[in-house]
């Protein structure tokens, strides 16, 4: 019996007796042995490549880290290098800074769980790749220093420090590398949440990071704070964060860079009211000291933005990014003039 090639083909006529299972298995093996071999070879290749090839991470956060790791190894002629967490990544627009201040600007910011030593590691990569920045700026969200870092994120910092990801199970590895190496990233579905609506999939997010000189826009809707009053925040650095900053400071010392500055990312108005401004400034000074930076190297970047310019309490949105960048400009200009430039 043969399969027809058209829906209107006549009925096939049965032959004498049904073939046995062994005979049928023989047909399948004869027809598909090479297909199976090719599939297995491709999958084995993908499994081997999984833990070596860059760009084989599955979700937003790791993808940002992964791509900034890749970028940190590219030679750059940036005069201003920005490092730190997502409050800087989403807050300061390097293209705008470059066009207003006339200094070539690159950003290597990642996300908070990478923590202090991880931020400096990206800087180390850039220096090793030939970067000679006149000024380095750390931007950190103060709120991330107030709590114990989540253990589930430990692998993110480890990945940056090791300059590569921990090996994953082979099936997971095949899937990750298959998306990139076999399917060219073209078959990736959109990222969930607002980033997906703006950037599409991971491949496009990487392109956007390149096009934005390492900066990214958070496309989320404006923050609607829960009804109630401003939150009381106790600005005390958590011991683990303190240790991270100290370790980052040690790493910085080895790099022997003169003009390194630190500033805080913006926080939503509903979380940081004016009474806490003094405490925040004191905490910034403490961070400067832990990083081993000279006096005067703590920059007072815009600290509090209206809720409607934020997408969550610690990240600015489209309007907030414009405002943060614009308001940070004179501070950066002064720092550049006083030694960085």
């Amino acid at each position: 019996m043969t399969l027809s090639t058209s829906s209107s083909d006549p009925q096939p006529v049965p032959a004498a007796s049904p073939p046995g299972l062994v005979e049928i298995a023989g047909w399948l093996v004869r027809r598909f042995w090479l297909s199976a071999l090719i599939a297995l070879a491709v999958l084995a290749g993908l499994a081997l490549a999984a833990n070596r090839a860059p760009g084989v991470v599955p979700s937003l956060g790791p993808a940002i880290i992964d791509h900034q790791m890749v970028r940190s190894h590219r030679r750059t002629d940036a005069e201003l290098l920005v490092v730190g967490d997502s409050s800087g990544l989403l807050g300061l627009d390097p293209i705008e800074v470059e066009s207003r201040l006339g200094v070539r600007t690159e950003m290597l910011n990642v996300i908070g769980p990478v923590r202090g030593p991880g931020f400096v590691r990206l800087l180390e990569n850039a220096i090793a790749a030939g970067a000679r920045p006149k000024m380095v700026l750390f931007i950190i969200q103060p709120f991330t220093l107030l709590h114990a870092p989540g253990r589930s994120h430990d692998d993110l910092m480890k990945a940056v420090l090791a300059d590569g990801w921990s090996p994953v199970a082979w099936e997971e590895g095949v899937r990750r590398s298959g998306d990139v190496l076999l399917l060219g990233g073209l078959f990736e579905e959109p990222i969930p949440g607002p980033f997906g609506a703006e950037y599409g999939n991971i491949g496009e997010l990487r392109r956007a990071l390149d096009a934005g000189q390492g900066g990214l826009l958070h496309p989320g809707p404006p923050l609607v704070p829960p009804p109630g009053t401003h939150a009381e925040v106790d600005y005390v650095i958590y011991p683990v964060a303190r240790e991270d900053l100290r370790q980052a400071g040690e790493m910085l010392k080895r790099l022997d860079l003169k003009e390194v500055y630190v500033g805080f990312g913006a926080t939503a108005e509903s979380l940081s009211y004016e009474k806490t401004a003094g405490a925040r400034r004191a905490m910034l000074e403490e961070v400067r000291q832990l990083l081993g930076l000279p006096e005067g190297h703590a920059l007072l970047l815009p600290t509090v933005l209206p809720d409607q310019e934020m997408v969550d309490p610690m990240h600015v949105g489209r309007e907030g990014r414009k405002r943060f960048t614009r308001d940070a400009m004179p501070v950066l200009q002064r720092a550049l003039a006083s030694g960085g430039g």
């Binding site: 829906s7 049904p18 046995g20 998306d179 399917l183 959109p190």
Partner: protein, 466 residues
Amino acid sequence: MKFNSAAFLAFLPLVFVAAHLLRAKLRAQNAFLVVASILFYGWFDWRLAFLLLLYGVVAHQAALRIDATRDEALRRRWLTLSVGLCLTGLGFFKYAGFAAENVARGMQLLGLRGDPVLLEILLPIGISFYCFQSVAYLVDVYRGEVKAEPDPITFAAFMFFFPLLVAGPIERARHLLVQFQRVRVVTADQVTTGLWLVVWGLFLKVVCADTLAGFVARVWQGEPSIEGWAILGGAVAFTLQIYFDFNAYSVIAKGAAALLGIELVWNFERPYWATSVQEFWRRWHISLSTWLRDYLYVPLGGSRRGSFRTYINLMITMTLGGLWHGAAWTFVLWGMLHGAALCVHRLWSGWRSAPRVPAWLGWALTMTVVVFGLFIFNSPNLDVAGGLLFRLGHFSFTPFDRALWLAIAATTAPVFFVELLQERRGGLLAPARIGFVPFSALTGLMVAAIFVRFSETAHDFVYFQF
């Protein structure tokens, strides 16, 4: 049980082995297939298996009674009763909520108090398909085109055959039932092309359709950044997604059946190569379009009662065809659009002095109707469709648009390649008949890609909801 699930990938080989072990015992093999099919269907929700059984009992018993008498009035009564029961079941599960909502709206428009009776009715998966298959069987028996099958096991094997149970194709007794009435003898060609069809279907679903599904969902969520190119791309992406997805189901069904020695009809024959809407309907969801032709359009009078009546019949058939997909005005509008396009095509074809439409223009016009129709079809309501159309005028090319259009190009390329082989080498199975090495490379790469993209939490088949 979904075709794109690990459960099915274990189920199919087990059924394959067991069915071939029973190869010489037709009744035992049929009985086994009935049990396997009920297990397959009950995997979604075991309670639904009772509804399926009920449909089977009604169709089997009514057909026997229709066949048993020469009394035309009695035969007609049995037909009306049984078809009425089948359609009532479909109507209740599919349209009761829609009807209640619209009655309430109508009352509100008249200034009366019209609280909609909220009917939270679970739509039994595949009911539209097995309902139509039952109706076709009953009508065919009534028309004397097939004999009623007395053996309940043979009948159940035909009625409940798992590959087509959930999303078709809608088979006719004269094609499928006869295959359960005799010992099935599979050939090497049938088994190997069957397995190839399963691989090709899974590739279409897991790699092509599901990639686009995520983008389509984002576009129809209507986030503010979704504008011009994204909406246009979303409409194209859904046009491709629904074809890849539904064709995937039909192809896997055909492949799985072939492995068991059963031949199913083709449901799609490269529909997007059509150069007219009429041709499109000869290539798209063939088992439904022929069902609508044979059991609705022809009984309405078809084209036998003059031009005006023909146009009315076309509109009625296509509008009801739209409504078959579900209880929503968007489906009705989709059906009416295609009905109107078919009328225009008929009018143009019948106009002697009409200039000949070049193939490329025919294709472009056809695809415009298809894409726009599916744009409405995929919108949950007319407000959403209108809202998206309103934003279509704002064009700025964002990274999302780039990702979307690249995904469209990437998913279309392999399908186009396979369809080109089908077109050039004469037949839907041509890709399975190319040289051994290219066939092995094509299949091997497809299997690897399926493994990469396979996910248990992936999107359901689009036609499950109908």
